[in-house]
């Protein structure tokens, strides 16, 4: 009997950790998050981080300026590898974005209150990742000023996009995803803008937040409709996020290249996206909670739960790798079999094994509670995952295209410095946007944190 009780207690331990540190009330939650924006002087670390991001952003500006002057010939792409860094980076970034939507939408629908303190910056991360992702198809056109040709519109050329092409589906999917992510994020910010408007002491922030708050006054009638709209947006975002990465995977799967033409691609890509995204959330959350002393809001329980999600989705991805290897053998198709042996032992074999190291071996320590409860260990694992998911796309895109059917048409892809600068540059863009967001907007949803404060839930008697 006693041992059974102990068992029950042991099982409950991870769930009994609070999602909000003790001793908080409405005022302290509001001040703890909102005043970072309004008052607190920003630590030196902010300037360092922003500075690094801004320098890398300038690298990006140089790389794309030269690209626009010279054309895509400055990149390493050529036949047979016509898609390389641009699509790798596109898929990598858009995948990172998906965890933000998952956290804010699916966890909201599942009533997981631990999402509250991480959903805002996860949504911001989504938005900025989609910005970085969206740049790649546009600059890959080589003539970005004509990128609007991607959309269907009655032009004087009487040309229309082909609705049977996954590349056109991709335009619809990514454009919708960017729009809905922006709306979701902005709607979540409206009540917090009102808080900042009411708390701002100087006139400029008061005016700016006043405009952004749209006249929000916390009316019960408004909250009623607001919550319904927010919940519906979450419900809409959930299938959307699945559809977006499925469509991205169809860019590959609908073609006939061995290594791309596989039905496992949509679910395997979606799992990979969530996995990569959680790694990026951890990459941002761990320094953030130290730098801004927000351990009460982003607690050890959050890190533990995110570690679990990362492990679970990582195992889905590993299942995808195993399926690819199995199917290439089971298909008894020469080209499929060759694709897999070439992927493992060919000229880019190093990338495959590095990917297995990052996405399979490096996540196994997450089975241990001690690893999931150590911020440093989680940060290191997350870094492996960030790298591993980039390598995954590199392996899929580059090794498949290098050696497809006819040996006379094979080739090897080497990136140029412009490829690398463009990629590193988008990391700069992302970092710059994240630091600006931390400086100028509340990184945690204040009004949702208030609902976690003791006393926010009605007492039983008052309900009836």
């Amino acid at each position: 009997m006693a041992s059974q009780q102990q068992k029950v207690q042991a099982y409950q331990v991870p769930w009994s950790d609070p999602v909000l540190g003790a001793g908080h009330d409405f005022e302290s939650v509001t001040a703890g998050i909102g005043d970072v924006v309004l008052e607190q002087r920003h630590p030196k670390g902010w300037w360092v981080g922003f500075g690094i991001g801004f320098i890398l952003l300038n690298v990006f500006m140089m790389a794309v300026t030269w690209l626009f002057v010279e054309g895509t010939g400055i990149w390493g792409v050529n036949n047979p590898v016509g898609w390389a860094f641009a699509i790798i980076n596109f898929v990598w970034w858009i995948g990172i974005g998906h965890a933000g939507t998952l956290i804010s939408a699916i966890l909201l629908l599942l009533n997981q209150d631990w999402r509250t303190s991480i959903n805002r910056f996860a949504e911001a991360m989504t938005l900025f990742a989609v910005v970085c992702a969206g740049l790649f198809p546009v600059i890959h056109t080589g003539r970005p000023w004509l990128a609007f040709w991607l959309f269907p519109f009655p032009s004087t050329m009487e040309l229309w996009p082909n609705f049977r092409s996954p590349l056109v589906w991709d335009v619809f999917a990514v454009a919708t995803y960017a729009t809905v992510s922006l709306l979701f994020w902005f709607v979540g910010l409206i009540p917090d803008f009102a808080t900042l408007r009411d708390r701002a002491k100087s006139i400029v922030p008061k005016k700016i937040f006043g405009i952004l708050a749209l006249g929000w006054r916390g009316s019960t009638l408004h909250w009623d409709r607001y919550e319904e709209a927010y919940l519906l947006l979450a419900g809409l975002s959930t299938p959307l996020v699945v559809s977006v990465h499925s469509v991205v995977s169809l860019d590959f799967a609908i073609s006939l290249i061995p290594g791309w033409h596989a039905t496992i691609f949509p679910p395997y890509f979606v799992a990979g996206a969530v996995y990569a995204g959680f790694a990026m959330v951890l990459t941002i959350a761990i320094p953030l909670r130290i730098g801004y002393n927000m351990k009460d809001f982003i607690t050890d329980r959050h890190l533990d739960l995110m570690g679990r999600v990362m492990l679970a989705t990582g195992l889905f991805v590993d299942y995808g790798y195993a399926t690819e290897a199995f199917m290439s053998w089971y298909s008894a198709n020469n080209y499929e079999t060759f694709m897999m042996t070439n992927r493992m032992g060919g000229p880019s074999g190093w990338a495959y094994w590095a990917l297995i190291l990052c996405n399979f071996a490096a996540i196994q320590p997450l089975w241990l509670k001690s690893v999931r409860s150590s911020a440093t260990a989680l940060f290191i694992v997350a870094m492996f995952v960030n790298l591993g998911m980039w390598l995954e796309r590199y392996v899929i895109v580059v090794t498949s295209l290098q050696h497809d059917y006819m040996p006379s048409a094979w080739g090897i892809y080497y990136p140029t410095m412009w490829d690398v600068m463009t990629f590193v540059g988008t990391i700069g863009l992302f970092v710059t946007l994240i630091f600006l967001f931390i400086r100028f907007l509340p990184v945690i949803s204040i009004f949702e944190m208030r609902t976690l404060v003791p006393g926010a839930e009605l007492k039983e008697g008052a309900r009836h």
């Binding site: 082909n162 919708t176 019960t220 408004h222 909250w223 409709r225 809409l236 309900r463």
Partner: protein, 180 residues
């Protein structure tokens, strides 16, 4: 009292806890007032029920938005593929609707989401640059830690003195008249 009604938006009471707030809303409704509203720093569950709000129309609006979006996507893909730019690829049918499903799905979600956000703002009358409730001293805390109930002058039962004494009976921190 008529003069007061014209320059007054209503009478507002300030509460400290969600419990008092919801109880006040319920009692206000029970007392027969119809034009009143609560103001709180976060959604308080139970407040809508206490106020007796009817089911809001957001869900229906989003459903209609989604249906319109889906039909628009279908119409666009069909028009482009069949009428505007028919491409004969080995005699395959022009009206290849299964290939249109992904973009149709996306336009459905897009229209539904736009309806959810802009529809919600529209029926809430936002954006709104000015509202009388902001005239109440201390109302700024409605976005931090205070809860307010305002009975409006538009209420047929409204009469400043009686409303003030009614609200004072609910145990508020303070009661004040809201200038229009």
């Amino acid at each position: 009292m008529h003069a007061a009604t014209q320059s007054t938006f209503g009478v507002m009471a300030e509460f400290e806890t969600p419990d008092q707030f919801v109880a006040a809303l319920r009692k206000t409704r029970a007392a027969g007032y119809t034009k009143f509203d609560g103001y709180s720093p976060m959604p308080v569950h139970g407040a809508s029920e206490a106020m007796g709000l009817p089911k809001n129309p957001v869900g229906l609006m989003v459903l209609i938005g989604g249906i319109v979006g889906g039909l628009s996507g279908f119409a666009l893909a069909t028009y482009v593929s069949v009428v505007a730019y028919p491409i004969n690829i080995g005699g395959r049918p022009l009206f290849s609707w299964p290939a249109f499903i992904p973009p149709i799905f996306e336009t459905t979600v897009l229209f539904a989401a736009l309806t959810a956000v802009f529809g919600m703002l529209a029926i809430n009358g936002l954006p709104l640059p000015y509202h009388p409730v902001w005239n109440v001293p201390g109302f700024a805390r409605a976005s931090t830690d205070r809860f307010f109930v305002c009975i409006e002058a538009a209420d047929p039962k409204f009469e400043v003195a009686s409303v003030k004494s009614f609200l004072s009976g609910l145990g508020p921190r303070s009661v004040s008249e809201v200038a229009a």
